[in-house]
């Protein structure tokens, strides 16, 4: 059975209570993307500063539950300083971790849903793996990441103008 400790790992609660990179950046030069979770009304703002090929800064705004807020906070620490391509790679790995595999839904809560700790290079983000056992919360965990995806696309459009 998936218990609360599978979802609310200590590092997640820490990022929720003490969110990193919270705030705003001036737009422009930064890019702003907004994401909404239509199910619960949570909203998130990602301010992205890209210099050359590097994500030099990021700030997170908006409000939401512990999972959406901590996931966005952890995302910001994971990708600031990385190149856009590296950030895309982390994004892809994270979303892969958050995808429900067929066997994960067959057996209610007892299924080992995509449970391969340490299999990725996601570091602290691994703590969010347990979210997959709570399918309704996956959209919470991916809200910030989908918004980052959008921000990267917007930043790319702007630099190619």
């Amino acid at each position: 059975m998936a218990g609360l400790e599978d979802l609310y790992r200590e590092i997640i609660l820490d990022h929720y209570r003490n969110p990193r990179n919270r705030g705003e950046l001036e737009v422009p030069p930064a890019t702003l993307a907004e994401g909404f979770n239509p199910l619960c009304g949570d909203e998130i703002r990602v301010y992205l500063q890209v210099d050359g090929e590097t994500i030099s800064d990021m700030r997170i705004g908006g409000q939401g539950c512990s999972i959406s807020q901590s996931s966005a906070s952890m995302m910001s620490t994971a990708v600031v300083g990385k190149s856009v391509d590296e950030a895309r790679d982390v994004l892809r790995q994270f979303k892969e971790m958050m995808s429900i595999h067929e066997h994960g839904l067959d057996h209610d809560e007892d299924a080992p849903a995509n449970d391969r700790p340490g299999a990725s290079g996601l570091g602290d983000l691994e703590a969010l793996r347990g979210v997959v056992k709570f399918p309704v919360r996956i959209k919470c965990a991916t809200l910030g990441w989908n918004t980052l995806d959008q921000a990267i696309a917007q930043a790319g459009d702007k630099s190619s103008e």
Partner: protein, 412 residues
Amino acid sequence: MRGTLDVAAIKAEFPLLQREVHGRPIVYLDSGATSQKPWPVLEAMDRYYAEINANVHRGAYHIAEKATTAVESSRSALARFLGAPSAEEVVFTKNATESINLVAHSWGRTNLAVGDVVLLTMLEHHANIVPWQQLAAERGVEVRWIPVDGEGRLDLTDLDVLLDGVRLLAMTAASNVTGALPPLRFLADAAHAVGATVLVDASQWVPHQPTEVTAWDADFVAVTGHKMLGPTGIGALWGRRELLDAMPPFLGGGSMIQNVTVDGFTPADVPARFEAGTQPIAEIVGWHAAINFLETLGMEAVAAHERDLTAYALRTLTDRFGDDLDIHGPSDVEDRGGTLSLAYRDVHPHDLSQVLDQHGVCVRAGHHCAKPLMKVLGVNATARASLYLYNDESDVDALAHALAEAGKFFAF
């Protein structure tokens, strides 16, 4: 509890309420989203498929006659349950959402033009907002809103001004967020006085209170089966006969015609005119069993039980949590139904409902498809506990216990 329902006996009729989740007995407090189903409903649907499954209004053979009779007797039962003058004024739909869309498409596109006003309340569910916004975008109809006060009650101070130019008043009978109960008859009279038509979204009312559509003096009433012990996928629209008679069909297809030639078609009379294609017959049959179940208990008794239980919940939660817990909506139990939208300290509703779930307590977290109201209440989401006839004080106590546990878990 001085309620008049034997809740222990009622609970025993609901198989789902016998199960456990996470090793604890389930405490189901999300009947505002959908109710649980008693054995008689499940058995009626099984029996329909096992014994008389056939398409209705078609075959002249025995089981087809039986199936047709089953559908029409369900329609009659529903008409009686709603206090409707005639079963022919009851149109089966998929749910209340489809009922409102039917009115918007058929009555709305016939009767509303540029500049006409549709008046809504800030308590509405998206089902009674979006169809009118679609009409506004398509036809240049104006959508106007009756505001709410801090307790989530309608603020009728400027009603006369708001009613100017109104062709349709579309309002909920009971808020699905705050439980607030608008003064339906008063508003219907005011709307009729300016020549407007009145639609009531009764999704959150009919399961809980005796209903007399004529006492409201409504023109259309939208209802849904699954919140009143019936199956999902079946709802109804009641409309005054002369309005329905003058309305064109909404969906086209089989069953809704008198005649079809290569040149065109003649629509059937109501209610068949609005029932294109094969209807969800088993669901219609199951809904009838649900209505029988409710009538056996008596809606007066159901309403009295829920009023007592809501008072107990408001008292228990307020005594135990004080200012740590905000209960949105009217504080007076006479002004509200058993829908409690909760804000507990700084715990996000999603997180709250997740911890509650570990204690077997099922509540809904989110915006409850009422985003305009959420904005007025100043929140993005709430955790909502909604009470029904199979809940008792032990369920409220379990909610209070789980809330306290959530407080400990997220102790900042």
